[in-house]
């Protein structure tokens, strides 16, 4: 048995990782919709989902059941191949792109050193861009195959938008690549590790490589805006502008096929947040100098008060179900916090993933915040902004960064 395991470890470990990752990501997707609805509701001074489970915690489950049980009608005159293929393609590509994301440094489990991600490829950034390039087809085919003028318009808008912003997105990363000298996301993060400079070593501030780097603030802003356009989110969600196009490219989709687009969009959001974390915010690195070992207790410092608050807030909840569930969650969080504080053997390996997830969460929150704040662009404004502002700005970033690097190398 152990012979078999060790012989086929190279294929078994990735399969286990893929299963865990897909399970986690789909759960996170589901709760991201809840978080989005809650945050936007509070921005607009509403409560948001509140009925299904305490604080609406079971709402994603109810949504999932609804998606499965809904009728899935086939509209007349659709191009069947394109119509059925498009949602699968969207979901498949967005889940595939997560395979090359490193979620933390290498960890050792049961004496086996492993990479905290599915695949450690030395061209992982290019793989991500390749997948982004292909993901246009999901939207374009859905729009064209649905035999609906709103879908077609949405699909066309989306293809044009994605091609336009792909350029700016790719160019905005060049500055980081010039400093890192590699396409591997793992090495890009390791390059930002400066020991005692902490947060200043991140590419955003650019003191990596003993102060040799150049700040990538311009690149970061360009990348973030272009990424929002690539994922078709507000303020760039013209492909599905409901006041003009009903629901754009997915007007004719219902039930699970609509859910596939939905999950695809949220997974793409997660991927892009992970990518901007890795490229500009130091990935899994702590923002504090390496000598400040007391900052390793931060996960506990965060978890215990949140857990206690959920506990004491939960025992006064309106429903009995909530009065059981919420204190249970609070207790669990507190216990995890205490365990982490008591056992450094468990605390040390989770430092990397903790910072990574915290940063990704912050970026995702920013995404939702923007959706709650900004109005939608007009189509010509979108194109003008992409081609006349974002693209020149990212090219300028490439020129400035390379000039600075050459000057530092020679002088």
């Amino acid at each position: 048995m152990s012979d078999f395991l060790s012989q086929y470890a190279f294929i078994l470990i990735p399969i286990v990782k893929v299963v865990i990752l897909v399970f986690l990501v789909l759960t996170v997707d589901a709760y991201l919709t809840l978080l989005e609805r809650k945050v936007i509701a509070h921005i607009q001074a509403r409560w948001g989902p509140y009925r299904v489970g305490p604080h609406g915690l079971l709402q994603p489950l109810a949504d999932g059941v609804k998606f499965i049980l809904k009728e899935d009608p086939l509209p007349q005159g659709v191009d069947k191949k394109a119509y059925f293929f498009a949602p699968f393609l969207t979901l498949m590509l967005s889940l595939t792109s997560l395979a090359v994301i490193p979620f933390g440094p290498d960890i050792t489990i049961f004496g086996h050193k492993t990479y905290l991600g599915v695949a450690d490829v030395n061209i992982s950034l290019l793989v991500l861009f390749a997948i982004t390039a292909l993901s246009v087809y999901g939207v374009a085919l859905a729009g064209w195959g649905s035999n609906n003028k709103y879908s077609l318009l949405g699909g066309l808008r989306s293809s044009a938008q994605m091609i336009s912003y792909e350029l700016a997105m790719t160019l905005s990363v060049v500055g980081v690549l010039l400093m890192a000298g590699t396409f591997s996301l793992k090495q890009i993060v390791e390059m930002q590790h400066t020991g005692n400079l902490g947060i200043l070593g991140w590419n955003l501030f650019g003191f990596s490589r003993d102060g040799f780097g150049f700040t990538q603030i311009i690149g970061c802003v360009c990348f973030f805006i272009a990424a929002i356009a690539e994922t078709n989110r507000i303020p760039f969600d013209l492909p599905e502008a409901e006041s003009e196009l009903v629901a754009g490219y997915h007007t004719e989709y219902a039930s699970m096929k609509f859910a596939m687009f939905f999950i695809g969009e949220y997974t793409a959001m997660i991927t892009v947040s992970c990518l901007s974390t890795i490229l500009f915010f130091g990935g899994w690195l702590s923002p504090f100098p390496a000598t400040w070992t007391f900052t390793h207790y931060l996960p506990s410092v965060l978890l215990i008060p949140i857990g206690l608050w959920v506990f004491f807030d939960g025992i006064r909840y309106e429903t009995i179900f909530g009065r059981i569930i919420l204190p249970a969650i609070g207790t669990a969080l507190t216990v995890i916090g205490v365990v982490l504080a008591r056992f450094p053997a468990i605390n040390e390996p989770i430092q990397g993933p903790f910072w990574f997830l915290l940063k990704v969460f912050a970026v995702l929150f920013f995404y939702i915040w923007m959706r709650g704040t900004l109005p939608r662009f007009r189509y010509d404004q979108l194109m003008d902004f992409g081609w006349k502002f974002l693209l020149p700005l990212s090219i300028a970033n490439v020129v400035i960064t390379s000039a600075y690097l050459i000057w530092r190398m020679n002088g």
Partner: protein, 167 residues
């Protein structure tokens, strides 16, 4: 049969399948999709030879940018099903024998050369992205810059043509 060989046959089979369906499909969009399948399988074959940068660029440029424009244009023109016309006389009498002859020639050439085919010399020479860019910016810098100049001319030409339409 080694794993590499299995992957090779799967990818090569997909590429051939895509190429055949490209011709057999009656709708332009389906043909374009088949062509994308060919491009992606070719990228897989490059990856198998260790040319990872070329593989990624194959998908980004051909699978992504170029084919998106194809699909885009087909959608904008709203091209419908192609009509099957009857064979022209030339195609009926000369086409099939010529196609067979060409296939025979290619098969013969492959059969003759495969006996003393050198092993793919990809390991080291062109594989790594760094080496590739070194070559591109030192030895082949003039062809490289000329190509970019050619593309620039094409872009300016496209803008001029579009502008004339507007006026």
């Amino acid at each position: 049969m080694s794993a590499v060989l299995v992957i090779f046959y799967v990818l090569a089979g997909l590429a051939v399948l895509g190429a055949v369906t490209l011709i057999l499909q009656s709708h332009p969009i389906h043909s374009a999709l088949s062509l994308i399948l060919v491009m992606v399988s070719l990228a897989g074959l490059y990856l198998l030879m260790g040319a990872e940068f070329v593989a990624a660029v194959q998908i980004i440029v051909y699978g992504g940018a170029v084919m998106v424009l194809f699909v885009f244009v087909i959608m904008l023109l709203n091209a419908g099903e192609e009509e099957h016309t009857s064979f022209s006389k030339l195609a009926r009498f000369a086409g099939i024998p010529l196609a067979l002859a060409l296939a025979g020639m290619i098969a013969a050439a492959i059969a003759r050369s495969s006996a003393h085919l050198p092993a793919p010399a990809m390991s080291g020479a062109l594989t790594s992205t760094k080496r590739l860019s070194m070559l591109l910016f030192s030895e082949f810098v003039y062809p490289f810059e000329l190509t970019s100049f050619l593309i620039l001319v094409a872009i300016v030409g496209a803008i001029v043509l579009a502008q004339r339409e507007g006026n």
